[in-house]
């Protein structure tokens, strides 16, 4: 008789799926099982977040002697921002795939070490996010007075998008960085 595949509704995973991710049974994205590749994805995500955040500070394009019209300038700037955001989203998706086996697995399918590394990674992320929130609050209070943002257009919204990405990906980034080859 076939074994029943338990569904963990609150976590959005199934027992078979999780077990397959924790072993070599799942043949998809096997290249994300190596710690080196996962760290590359973490670095790409960090780069993406940094680039998005810098959107609030970078002036619109002024490349050498190229003189663009104001409209063309804004279009190029916006298209670049959209692409950077999309690529960061792709990196985020890969990051989630790489740690999904441990990050989303119910405790009963993990051993004590996996539970420990997951919980400590999430705690580090929580602390890091707390610091980020404080930094954002400081920026909100003093940013406008210190003219930290551009007067037109980018009023810190890119910084907020980057912060949201950081909130969403910090636990996975820390877990992906710490866990060895799976």
């Amino acid at each position: 008789m076939a074994q029943k595949n338990k569904i963990y509704w609150s976590l959005g995973v199934t027992e078979k799926g999780t077990r397959a991710l924790l072993t070599d049974e799942n043949s998809k994205f096997t290249w994300l099982r190596s710690q080196r590749n996962r760290r590359v994805v973490v670095l790409l995500e960090l780069l993406g977040i940094t680039l998005i955040a810098s959107g609030s500070y970078l002036p619109t394009l002024a490349i050498g002697s190229i003189q663009l019209s104001r409209e063309a300038d804004i279009i190029i700037y916006s298209v670049t921002a959209i692409w950077v955001t999309l690529l960061t989203l792709v990196a985020y998706s890969l990051l989630r795939i790489s740690v999904r086996g441990i990050a989303d697995a119910p405790d009963e399918l993990l051993d004590e070490r996996q539970i420990t590394i997951r919980d400590t990674s999430f705690r580090f992320a929580y602390l890091a996010m707390g610091c980020l929130v404080i930094a954002l609050l400081v920026l909100m209070f003093f940013g406008p007075d210190l003219e930290l943002f551009q007067p037109e257009g980018n009023d810190g919204s890119y910084l907020m998008i980057a912060a949201l990405f950081a909130f969403a990906s910090a636990p996975s980034m820390i877990l992906a960085w710490r866990e060895r080859d799976i």
């Binding site: 004590e112 070490r113 080859d181």
Partner: protein
Amino acid sequence: MSRNSEEPVFNRIEEARAAAGLSRQKLANLVGVHYQTIGYLERGEYSPSLVLALRIASALRKEVSELFSLTQPKEGEK
């Protein structure tokens, strides 16, 4: 990864496992952990709970005190 990073726990899991002719995967199955966790334990990067230590000792037919110690075991010590 250690439960108490100031006080490392030394172990002889790797040699006891080799002596028993078990692979990491086989030992992992016997004690109910992921095979990667056996690697962490053997490298001393993770100190097991008492329950896991007892399970490992039982699987390797050893006493817990034979496998784990708070001091570095001397060469050739049984």
